[in-house]
């Protein structure tokens, strides 16, 4: 089952509390997640903590799904950070600011696990060296 969403990214206290502690599992747990409302969670047929693939025309990323009652149907929130940034819109619309909010995409169940920060960055380094 797939679910169409409007993705927004932003701060959370768990993300902020680990901003200087990014290689920790606390940061990973705080940011490698996507929060959606109860109806969307039901549509996906998933329970909290399941892995999902979030895709937009700018990329895709695997994260854990979480319930957020404050989200209207069709709104997905990913805490700001490397996982969110795998799917945001890089276009700055001529003012320097990429599209971190209001990115259209979809969510579907995933078999893979979310990559940790080092693994994600090694993809961007585009080389074969490093730990991965």
């Amino acid at each position: 089952m797939k679910c169409d969403v409007n993705i927004i990214t932003g701060r959370t206290i768990d993300q902020g509390a680990n901003i200087d502690n990014k290689l920790s599992s606390d940061y990973f747990n705080a940011c490698a997640r996507c929060e959606i409302g109860a109806e969307d969670l039901k549509t996906l047929g998933l329970s909290e903590g399941s892995h999902v693939k979030v895709s937009t025309e700018f990329g895709s990323v695997v994260v854990s799904i979480a319930l957020c009652d404050g989200n209207r149907r069709g709104v997905a929130f990913i805490p700001m950070g490397p996982w969110a940034n795998a799917v945001v819109n890089p276009d700055t619309h001529g003012c320097g600011m990429p599209g971190f909010k209001g990115v259209l995409g979809s969510i579907e169940p995933a078999d893979e696990k979310p990559l940790d920060l080092k693994a994600l960055m090694s993809l961007y380094r585009g080389d074969t060296y490093g730990d991965y």
């Binding site: 902020g16 502690n21 404050g70 700001m80 890089p90 209001g102 090694s122 961007y124 490093g130």
Partner: protein, 430 residues
Amino acid sequence: MEITDAICSFCGSLCDDLTVKVEDNKIVDVRRACRLGAGKILGHERINSPMIRNEAGKLEEVSSDSAIDKASQILLHAKRPLLYGWASTSCEAQSKGILLGEILGAVVDSTASICHGPTTLGVQEKGLPTASLGQIKNRADLIIFWGCNPIHAHPRHMSRYSGYLRGFFLDRGRQNRKFITVDVRMTETAAISDEFLQIEQGSDYVVLSALRAIVNGKGDLVPDVVGGVSKEELVHLSDMMRSCRFGAFFFGMGLTQSKGRYKNIDCALSLTNDLNTRTKFVITPLRGHYNVTGFGQVCSWQTGFPAVDLSRGAPYYNPGEMSANDLLMRDEVDASLIVASDPAAHFPNASVRNLAKHPLIQIDPYANATTEIADVVIPTAIVGVETEGTAYRMDGLSLRLRKLVDSDYPDDEEILDKIIKKVSREGDVC
């Protein structure tokens, strides 16, 4: 030893009432800080030593001199260097960074470009009818939080400046004030507000415009529903705004990062101006990192602009063309110096890929995503904990951050000074 009235160098609230307990040069307790500030002051794991990425692609520990030599070589050979970050360091270090940019002919941009950069553009068009946080604390009987969630991002803001506490003219504190939150999601801030307007994502501009129309007596032009909100709710909100004695409008990334970007800010500033024809209203961006406001100040007084391209022999500013992400998307940057920030974690992946393709020097106290793509890493002391320095609170008040403990790490200023010496030619002013 107890240090009183210490300043927290985490967020733009710069709370200056902390008590820090130090034993044997170690911080053992922090009182009054929120979870964000306490975590920073009590400390996280640090980068141990300067490092250079070797041919096998591993970061290898080196001497400080070798790291500075390598960094200087990279910068000297770059045609289009980007000096980026600056939000979590002192004004003194920022000033050195801009001087380095001038010597190199570099672009110097701060994290504001992915935060409140659009706010600056809005302010350049409309001006900023604002007030100090002290004024707001003492006078504001109506507080609006639009597209921001201070309970998560600035946890003590409400208890120190904008919420619960008593003010000089508000002797009953919270009972004297009304809170309105406008957001796409029902946030914790929304949950404790008197009024919550849940708008459709990306509709900030139309909702602000509708409010302007109602405030200016043109409510008949407003349709029944705007941005998912009924006209009655908007009329009610505008009544609250018009009838307050002193309103304070705080906003965050919900406005700067959503559709419309700086035009949203332009519209919010215009609404504030409109309201000032009827009552007193002020507007203040909730700035994130503790000294991102300072960078705008320092860069403006040194070059005339809040971010600057110094490659043309004269300062040049055109966000959307010379901002970090625009340069990276065009793959123009051939070397970067990242100070006190983490673009690899906070830029879109397309920008990070291009950042990672070219030599990157990182100056930071902590290992983060940028360390993973860095070629030279230079660890530093933490400003406001291990070294002193000046920072600007979100309302533009400058405060002197104190040193709480000694450290063996050099500070950002010292490292930048060494790099400046290495890359300077005769005749450069430094």
